[in-house]
Symmetry: C2
């Protein structure tokens, strides 16, 4: 099990290679919410999201032999771009398996960071078959986007930084998808101060974490019909037990609540945050009573948005 010590070690390991992102406040959103909000701005992070934290923590621990054989993943989103960046920096090669209907902006993000795209058909079996063949052929090391303790420890460094600057928070809200970020946030936060409440924010349209918690075991997403393209993954076998043990609740958020929150962040804070990250504000605003008068940290996980496909 990942501990606070592992997160501190990850932090030391990745510090030279990632940004310590700013924590922004906004009076107008404080007034609107009735709480005091601290936005941890991972949208300003290298490669545009928190994913570089876990990816760097993992890649830094690969041996030269592993690196020489190459690194691979099937994540076409922020993890694919971040992993490519971390591997390129160490002089290695990354292969990212992607369906051939992947939006061009995601392909560009991977290629700009030195990753190579390997095309597959747009279904899970094809994706896994191509990855499997690639590993068989090259001996590449697969770095999973979340179901890996090194990834969880790396992602926990965002909450660690938030609490170093604001140790007196009452609550933290993190997005939840596969559970890497929420898992790391829980272990960092509860390790530093178990009194601080930690909530996950999840799309109602991809609410496997919420339902898995209710049922007491991992259940599959019924739909992934959400604009939060970073929150469509299935909760992991390594991350679920962490969440089950520590989380104070999962708040599900509808698509229109996510879009409203996104417009508020863009219009009032003047920053670009993706739907998968503003969901934390949506979760808070639909539960104002719960957070009234409290100091709440919100993890804005990323800022990679296709400006030609805005949801309004």
């Amino acid at each position: 099990m990942v501990t606070l010590k592992d997160i501190a070690a990850a932090h030391d390991r990745i510090r030279p290679f990632v940004h310590r992102t700013p924590i922004l406040t906004n009076k107008s959103l404080d007034d609107l919410s009735g709480a005091t909000l601290y936005f941890k701005c991972e949208n300003f992070q290298k490669a545009g999201s928190f994913k570089i934290r876990g990816a760097t923590n993992t890649v830094e621990q690969l041996s030269q032999t592993e690196l020489d054989r190459g690194v691979a993943t099937t994540s076409s989103g922020n993890h694919g771009a971040a992993l490519s960046m971390a591997v390129t920096r160490r002089g290695g090669k990354t292969k990212v398996v992607m369906p051939h209907n992947t939006p061009k902006i995601k392909v560009n993000n991977v290629e700009r960071n030195g990753g190579e795209v390997v095309w597959c058909d747009p279904d899970q079996p094809s994706r896994e078959r191509i990855l499997h063949e690639l590993v068989e052929e090259t001996g590449a090391t697969v770095v999973h986007p979340y179901n890996d303790e090194r990834i969880v420890a790396g992602q926990g460094t965002a909450a660690k930084e938030l609490l170093e600057d604001h140790p007196d928070l009452d609550s933290i809200i993190s997005p939840v998808s596969g559970g890497g970020l929420l898992g790391g946030t829980l272990l960092a936060t509860k390790g530093l101060n178990p009194e601080i409440e930690v909530f996950g924010a999840e799309p109602s349209e991809a609410d496997d974490a919420y339902r898995s918690l209710e049922k007491g075991e991992i259940v599959a997403n019924k739909t992934i019909d959400t604009i939060c393209d970073g929150l469509r993954a299935q909760i992991g076998t390594i991350t679920f037990p962490i969440i089950q043990e520590h989380v104070d609740g999962i708040i599900t958020v509808t698509e229109s609540e996510i879009i409203d929150a996104m417009k508020m962040v863009w219009e009032r804070m003047k920053i670009i945050a993706e739907p998968s990250s503003v969901i934390t504000l949506g979760a808070l605003l639909k539960n104002k009573d719960m957070f009234s008068g409290k100091k709440v940290g919100l993890i804005l996980s990323g800022g990679n948005v296709d400006l030609n496909q805005l949801p309004w």
Copy 2:
């Protein structure tokens, strides 16, 4: 004539009421431009633009009697909102004369800051007639958006802050419309260090400053058909002589160059800046040779954008 001393006095006067905005850098835009860029982020300023600087400097100098009679302006843009904010803070009332076809977002910006909208027809004579009647009736003090030495001195504080943090800049680029911001930037910069070059960035579609400089006297805009809604004003009689004396050049920028620059700022810096401010990056990118290897300050003047009316 406004001097550096006036700008320093304005800075002391407004300091408690405005943000000292951050100065951001961006490696990817440095690589692309071949220069080292320092973005003075007035898009994060109170009321969303630098306009609060000049408005506050002016309103702070009004007597209680003037304030009791009320303040008025015809600017429906960022100045109207900023003036409303500055007057409301002192407990006064602001009337902003606006055409009844003004976009709702601008009406909201004024009203949210405590200003009252007075409707007129969408033409200049109606606007001026209504303002004149209002002043006759109430004795309100009119605060012009740029053609006023107190406004120029206030706007100069943005460049003063930029140079306090980065005194070794080679060049500064400021947007130019009525000339308040460029005039203040010139007086602050040349007052602090006459070696630093200062350029204005102006839409090709509203290039009165460029043509006025060429002709040696104020000429009117031929068109104002630009997405830069903050840059459609006519250069002023107070601001033009300042520009004429000090500016190192006006760079005109086409609509498509402005849109390209806007996308770059949004996608790479993850911040919301309005067309009227990203024009400074557009001016630099079309003249890479001129700025190659230099340290260049770019004034991002504001971040008020209608998210439902993006230019792509």
